[in-house]
Symmetry: C2
Subunit: 144 residues, 2 copies
């Protein structure tokens, strides 16, 4: 962890960033589509420095498949709420197609809060992970 004077935030090392990602109940997957960006909140599980989630056939999957490149974001507060953190992963999404890959994914402790049928597994392999953390203060606009 080191302090970044320009952003006035702590820059987290990769292990801390992965630990926080693991703690996140919901992350957001953003995908560029022509002229636009789609964002989907999903439940993910961390598996050996990759992110795995399920999805249904349909819009989300179509957008992912069109692009391959995704950005994943999670944020939250440390217990007690004094520190806020955010982690952004840029990576490549791939549909799991082979039986060994799918069997492995089925064994992961993925919590899925939405009851809808989600027949496909996706794994995001990171190219880059960046974590930030800062002490929260309620600096209303006057302080900015």
């Amino acid at each position: 962890m080191r302090y970044d004077e320009r952003t006035e935030m702590m820059v987290l090392d990769d292990d801390d960033s992965w630990r926080l990602l693991e703690s996140a109940e919901v992350v957001r997957i953003a995908v560029a589509v022509p002229g636009d960006v789609e964002i989907f909140p999903v439940n993910t599980v961390v598996d050996e420095h990759t992110l795995v989630f399920r999805t249904a056939e349909g819009t989300k999957l179509a957008a992912l498949a069109m692009s391959g490149r995704v950005t994943v974001e999670a944020d939250g507060q440390t217990p007690g709420g004094q520190e806020a953190w955010s982690v952004v992963v840029k990576g490549d999404a791939e549909l799991l197609e082979s039986f060994p890959e799918i069997y492995r994914a089925e064994e992961l402790p993925l919590r899925c809060s939405h009851p809808g049928h989600k027949g496909r597994w996706v794994r995001v392999r990171p190219r880059d992970i960046q974590g930030r953390q800062f002490t929260q203060g309620d600096t209303r606009h006057a302080a900015g």
Copy 2:
């Protein structure tokens, strides 16, 4: 509110979506940049069906200014935690440049949890807002 059979979610009407956006402490702004998507968690305030936030000069602002088009996402749980919701706004971001616009923004009750200096105001004018809500169940992968 109406039920969407395909996604197995409730589709929220715009007023409910704005109300939920107002309740969100943190939203995420996603911007497409060449070959990538940037996501930033920010504190926003709703002002007459637009979203207003502050930012510092630098990377985030540069990305926004390059694009103009942004996607904003917020999600959360209803009190009690039985229902999860998400709202996605697609819109156009504009830096506030005129004194009347900036004075107006300064009067908004924006909570800013990050203490860093944020000298610029941005307003997002929505082109589209979509809200979803669903009853949460911990359907571990076996149920999918």
